[in-house]
Symmetry: C2
Subunit: 666 residues, 2 copies
C-alpha cells in the first residue's frame, strides 16, 4: 500500500517540479488524478512502452488535456521514450512535452487534447473503431482485435455539449470497452462548481445507457482496483466510474481550491506539499524502487509478443482476413483502389452529367468505395441531402454491428470527433456529411484534426446561397474561406464531377490532415476537361480554358461560379478579348505548388483579374490584389429560389462583363 | 372539441398550401405540432398581435425553426400584421415569410431559428432575463415583469450538444417560467430515431433539475390543456412537456415518415390529407368562424392595457424604478454612461499603462460599468483570465437571484446563446468571455447574433501565439479573420487601453449586431495618442504615426503587433525613410468608412505596404495587395514562452526591417 502511494506521489512530484521549472502549467489535475492513474497504468492498462503504436494496445485519452504532466509522468515512469530531460523541458519550444499533449510529438500520446469535451467525444470514435474491427475481423478463438479505450475526464469536459452528443452515441452503440474515469473534484477554474454544474451526472449517463459506478474514493487504490475490475465485466454498456478526488491532492494550502488549477503553486507550496506527502527526494529525482515499480516494459513486451503470436495463428487460420487486417493496420491502399479511380476518370472524361457536386460526390463514392473497405461514412442526419450514402453503403446494424455507414443524428460536432477517433485508432478512413453552414458546430474538431494531422473527409454540401429557400441560417457565406484560413485544412470546392473525383481522391490520400469538400446543392454544368488537365486539377488550380495570345484578363473561379466564368470568357472572347479561365478548386493545395507552376497559372504581370465565388469576397484579394475585382458575398443571403439569389447578388453575366469592362478600361 | 380540431387543421392547411405554392418547405413538423400550437396560442400564450414588441408579453421560441409555417400560420390567424398574401409569398425574395423565421423581418417573431438546438438554448437566456428583471424591478403587488418563455422543440434540438449545456444552466437557475414542449415524433431526417437517439429524455432532463410532464398525447387538446396548466404551477424548475406526436399528422401516406420532413408532400397527398382531416376549404381559404376562433387581438389588447395600467400604478408607487425600467426597455443610455467614458478617455490620454488588453478591458469596465446597470457579464469558466469580472461585478446569487455576473461553466456555446437570449428579450446588454480559440465552440451563435442583429460583446482573449506555453490547441490563428469574414460581426483587436476603451464603447453602442474583442494575454506597450485621434480610432483604422513627407511605405498593424510596427517605423525613420503607421483595430468598421477617409489612411498610390498581425496572413492581402508584404501566421503555433514564439514566427524587428528593405528595393 505504501508503495502504491509512493508511486502516485512520483507523479505529483514530477508535476510540481516540471511546472515549477517552466513557471507554467496546471498542477491541480495531475495531482488529483495521480492515484487513478497509478491504479490504471500499473495494472489494468494494456500497453507496450517500447512499441507505442502496437495496434492492439489499449488507448488512453486524457480528456482534460491540461493535466498533461500526468501523462508525461506516466510515459516517463513506465518506460516510454521520454527522458527526465524531456520532463525538464516541459512547455519549451520543440520539446516532447508541450503544454497540452500532441500526438505527433510524443511517443505514447494516443490523442492530442486540450479543448474540453473533445477527448471523451473522440474516445467514442476510438472505441467504435475497436468494436467495428473486432466484429469484422475476429473469429472464434481468434480475438485479434480486443482492447479498451480508457478516458480520464473532469467536470469541464462534462459541461461541454459535445460530451453529451458523444455519450449518447456511445450508449446507443453499447461500447462496453469504453471506460471513463471521472475526476470529480467539484472545482473548475471559476471555483466551486455548485453554482454552475448542478446536474446529477450519474443519472444523466444512465439516461444515455451507460453503466455508472458511483462514489469511488479516487485516492484509495483498493476502491479504484475494484471499480476498474467491475467496469471490465460490463458487457453491453460503456462505463463511467465516478471518482471523488481532491484537486491538488497533497497541497496543504491549495488542495481543493481552484488556485492550483492553472498556475504553478510556487516553490514554497511545492516544498510543503512534498513534506505533507512524505516525498523526500530532490527535484526531478525518482528513486530506483519506484522506477522499478512503475516500469511496464517487460509486461508490455510480453503482451505484445503474445499478440504477435496470436496474430500469426490467426493468419494461419484466416490468411485472407489477416492480410486485409494487416493492410488496414498499415494504412496501405489496395490495388483495386487506384484502378477504380482510373476507370472512373476514364468514364468521366468520356461523359459527365450536369449534376450538383453533392450528387457528383455520391457518384464518386459509388464508383470507388467498394475498392476501399476502410471507408466509413456517415452523416449528421442529412444523409439524403449530402450524398454520403453510396451504392455500397450499409447502415450500421446495432445488433450485428455490421455496416459501413453511421447515422450520427443531429450531432455535427460528435460526428466530427468520432471521425477523428476512428482515424486516430486506425483501420478506417472516415468521412461524414452535413451542410457547410453547420461546420460551425464542428469547427474545433476539424481544427484538432488539422493540428493532430488526422485524416478525414468532411462532406460539406449546400455550399452557398445556392441553398435557396431555406434562407440565410442555412446559407454559408464565410465558411469556405474560414476553413481555408485554418492551417492544414484542405478545402475543395469542385465545379463538376471530374473535379469532385479529384477532390475526393485528394481527401482520401491526404494522410496528414482533414479535407473539406464544399459541394453545391444545385446542378452545375459539367466542364470540358482533357486527360492532361487531371494532374493539374490535383494541383489545386489550373487553366480551364485559355486565350490564344497572352491573356489580357484572368477569371478565377471555384465550384458553382466556374460555369459563369466560362460563360463570361466566351462572351469576352466574342468581343475579341484574350481571356484565361482559372479554375481553383483548392486554394490550399495550389498555394503549396512551386513558384513556376503558380507563375504559369497566374502570371505576376497580369493584374486584370476577376475572382468569382459565392462566398466571402475578402479572401480573394489574395489572388486579385488591389487592382482586380471580386464577385463574391459581403452580406448574408436571403430566403428565395436560388436562381433569383444568384442574380440578386451579382452572379450573372451582365455584372461579370461590366466588371471586366471596368478592368479593361473601356 | 370539433372547433379545436378545425383550428389546428387550419395550420395544417396553410402549411400544405404555402409549401405547395413555393415548392419548398418542411410540412411534417407544423402538421405534427398543430394541436400543441392551438392549445398554447389560443389559450395560455399571453401576447398582443397589435403590439408585437409589448415588453411583458410571453416569448415564443420555435426551436425547430424549419417548422416556420406553424409560426406564420399562428401569426396570420391570431391577428398579426401578416396577410394571406404574405403566406402565399412563403420563401420568396424579401417576403415576410422566409424559409426559417427571421426576427427583423416579421412582426411577432421573437427569435430567428433554424440551426437546431439553439432555439431552446437561446430561450434559456430569455427566461433568465425575465427572472433577473423581475427580481430587480418587481415589488409587492407590482409584478410588472411577469411572463413566460415557451419553446417548441424536436428530437433534433435535443441531439445537439448546446441544448444540454443550456438545459443544465436552466436547471441550475431554476427558471420555472421556461416551459418547453417537446414534439416527440421519433422521426428525424434520416428516419426513425431508434438507431441514433436512444436516450431516456425525461431522465436526462430530470438529472438536470427540470420538471418533466411525460406521455402527453400531442394531438389531444384536453391532455395538452392539462399539461400546460400543470406546467404553470411549477415554482422552482423549468418544465419539459413531452408530447407524443405524429409527424405530418393527417397525411394518409406520409404521416409518421421522414418523407414529409423536408419536402413538399405534393398536390395529390395534400388533397388526400385535407380529405382525411375533413378540411373542405379552397387553398389559402380560412373560413370566418376559424378566423374568429383564432383571433387574439381583443384578448391581447386587454392584457396589454391591463399591464399599461399596472405599470402606471407601479410608476406612481416607485417612480425611480419605473423610470429606470422604462429606460432599459427602450434601450436608452443613461447620461452617466457617456460621462463615464469621457472621464475615462481624459484619464487615459493623461496616462496609460503597459498592460495586456485583456486587463485593459477590465479597466474599461471598472470605469464605466457602474454607469450602465444593464451590462450583464460572465465567462465560460475563465473569469480570472479574461478580465470580465470588473470592480462592480457581483456574482449571480442563486438564492436571491441578484447579481450582474454569470458563471456559465465550461460552456462557450450556451454562454453565447444565453447572451443572445438576454439581448433579444431586452433590458440587458450582455457580454461574455472565453479564450479566442474557443470561439470555435460558439461560432454559430455569434453568427446568429450577426444575422439577427443582436447586440452582444464577446470578450475573446489570449488572441494569438501570445498564449505561449499552453500551446497550439489554445493559440488562435485563423479566428480573428474568420470572424471578420462573418457578415455584421465587428472584430476589434486593440493595441492598448485607449483602443480597448474605444472598442468597448463601439461594442456597447452597436445595437444591430455582435462585437468581438480580441484581447492579448501578454502586456503591450501603450501607444501615444492625441485627443484628436480618438474619433479616428472609432473609424476602425487611423494614422497612429506619420511621415513628414508623403509616405514611401505604410505599416499596417493590429493589437499586439502595433508596438512592433511603431518600433519598425522608428528604425526606418532613422534610416531616413518616410514611414506611416496605420493602426487598424477594426477592419470591419474601417471598411464602412467613406472613400475619402479610406484614401486618406491608405492612399491607393502607395503600394509599399506591410501588414503585421499574429494571425492568418491570408486576410491581409485585402490591404496590402499583391505587391505588399505580410508578417502573419501560416501554420499552427507551438508550446513555448510567448516571446520565443514571436521571435520564431518572424514577429521581430529584424524580419520587419528585412521585409521593408525588400519592398523599398535596396
Amino acid at each position: 500500500m505504501e508503495l502504491r502511494k509512493e508511486c502516485a506521489n512520483a507523479i505529483r512530484a514530477l508535476t510540481m517540479d516540471a511546472i515549477d521549472k517552466s513557471k507554467s502549467g496546471h498542477p491541480g489535475a495531475p495531482m488529483g488524478m495521480a492515484n487513478m492513474a497509478e491504479a490504471l497504468w500499473r495494472f489494468a492498462y494494456k500497453h507496450n512502452p517500447k512499441n507505442p503504436r502496437w495496434f492492439n494496445r489499449d488507448r488512453f485519452v486524457l480528456s482534460n488535456g491540461h493535466a498533461s504532466m500526468l501523462l508525461y509522468s506516466l510515459l516517463h515512469l513506465t518506460g516510454y521514450d521520454l527522458s527526465m530531460d524531456d520532463i525538464k523541458n516541459f512547455r519549451q519550444l520543440h520539446s516532447k512535452t508541450p503544454g497540452h499533449p500532441e500526438i505527433e510529438r510524443t511517443a505514447g500520446v494516443d490523442i492530442g487534447t486540450g479543448p474540453l469535451g473533445q477527448g471523451i467525444a473522440t474516445a467514442v470514435g476510438m472505441a467504435l473503431a475497436e468494436k467495428l474491427l473486432a466484429k469484422k475481423f475476429n473469429r472464434e478463438n481468434h480475438a485479434v482485435i480486443d482492447h479498451k479505450t480508457w478516458v480520464f475526464l473532469g467536470d469541464g469536459c462534462l459541461m461541454e455539449g459535445v460530451a453529451q452528443e458523444a455519450i449518447s452515441l456511445a450508449g446507443t452503440w453499447k461500447l462496453n470497452k469504453l471506460i471513463a474515469l471521472y475526476d470529480s473534484n467539484a472545482i473548475s477554474i471559476d471555483g466551486d462548481i455548485k453554482n454552475w454544474f448542478t446536474e446529477d451526472v450519474a443519472k444523466r449517463f444512465e439516461a444515455s445507457n451507460w453503466h455508472v459506478i458511483k462514489d469511488i474514493d479516487g485516492h484509495n487504490p483498493e476502491e479504484l482496483d475494484k471499480a476498474l475490475a467491475a467496469a471490465q465485466t460490463v458487457s453491453d454498456k460503456p462505463v463511467l466510474i465516478i471518482c471523488k478526488t481532491v484537486i491538488g491532492y497533497g497541497s496543504p494550502h491549495k488542495a481543493g481550491k481552484s488556485s492550483c488549477h492553472g498556475s504553478p503553486m510556487g516553490a514554497e507550496e511545492n516544498e510543503a506539499t512534498k513534506q505533507a506527502l512524505g516525498w523526500k527526494y530532490a527535484p526531478f529525482e525518482i528513486p530506483q524502487h519506484l522506477y522499478g515499480a512503475w516500469n511496464c516494459v517487460e509486461k508490455g513486451k510480453k503482451a505484445n509478443d503474445e499478440w504477435d503470436k496470436a496474430f500469426q495463428e490467426y493468419a494461419k487460420a484466416y490468411p485472407e482476413l489477416a492480410k486485409e487486417l494487416s493492410r488496414r493496420i498499415k494504412g496501405e491502399f489496395p490495388p483495386e483502389y487506384s484502378e477504380a479511380f482510373e476507370k472512373l476518370f476514364t468514364d468521366l472524361l468520356n461523359a459527365q452529367e450536369d449534376i450538383a457536386t453533392r450528387v457528383a460526390g455520391k457518384k464518386v463514392l459509388d464508383a470507388i468505395a467498394q475498392s476501399l473497405p476502410e471507408l466509413l461514412g456517415g452523416s449528421a442526419d442529412l444523409t439524403g441531402s449530402v450524398g454520403t450514402l453510396h451504392a455500397n453503403s450499409k447502415d450500421l446494424d446495432l445488433e450485428s454491428f455490421e455496416g459501413n455507414y453511421i447515422h450520427y443524428g443531429v450531432r455535427e460536432f460528435a460526428m466530427s470527433t468520432v471521425m477523428n477517433g476512428l482515424s486516430l485508432h486506425g483501420g478506417f478512413i472516415p468521412y461524414g456529411g452535413t451542410f457547410l453552414v453547420f461546420s460551425d458546430y464542428a469547427k474545433n474538431a476539424i481544427r484538432l484534426a488539422a493540428l493532430s494531422k488526422i485524416r478525414g473527409i468532411w462532406v460539406l454540401t449546400h455550399d452557398s446561397i445556392g441553398v435557396g429557400e431555406d434562407g440565410p441560417t442555412h446559407q454559408p457565406i464565410e465558411h469556405v474561406s474560414a476553413l481555408r484560413l485554418t492551417p492544414n485544412v484542405d478545402v475543395w470546392r469542385p465545379c463538376d464531377t471530374i473535379e469532385s473525383a479529384v477532390a475526393w481522391k485528394a481527401g482520401i490520400e491526404k494522410k496528414d490532415g482533414p479535407t473539406c469538400l464544399a459541394m453545391s446543392r444545385q446542378n452545375l454544368k459539367a466542364q470540358a476537361h482533357t486527360k492532361a488537365q487531371l494532374a493539374d486539377i490535383a494541383k489545386g488550380a489550373y487553366i480551364l480554358s485559355d486565350s490564344e495570345k497572352t491573356p489580357e484578363i484572368i477569371l478565377i473561379a471555384t465550384g458553382s461560379e466556374v460555369g459563369l466564368a466560362v460563360e463570361g470568357a466566351k462572351a469576352l472572347k466574342d468581343q475579341g478579348k484574350q481571356v484565361r479561365v482559372v479554375s481553383m478548386p483548392c486554394a490550399d493545395v495550389f498555394d503549396r505548388q512551386d513558384g513556376a507552376y503558380k507563375e504559369k497559372i497566374l502570371p505576376k504581370a497580369i493584374r486584370k483579374r476577376i475572382a468569382l465565388e459565392a462566398g466571402s469576397a475578402d479572401f480573394w484579394y489574395k489572388y486579385v490584389g488591389l487592382d482586380g475585382k471580386i464577385i463574391g458575398m459581403t452580406s448574408f443571403g436571403e430566403s428565395a429560389p436560388a436562381n433569383q439569389l444568384f442574380a440578386y447578388y451579382g452572379f450573372g453575366l451582365d455584372n461579370l462583363l461590366a466588371k471586366a469592362k471596368e478592368l479593361l478600361g473601356e
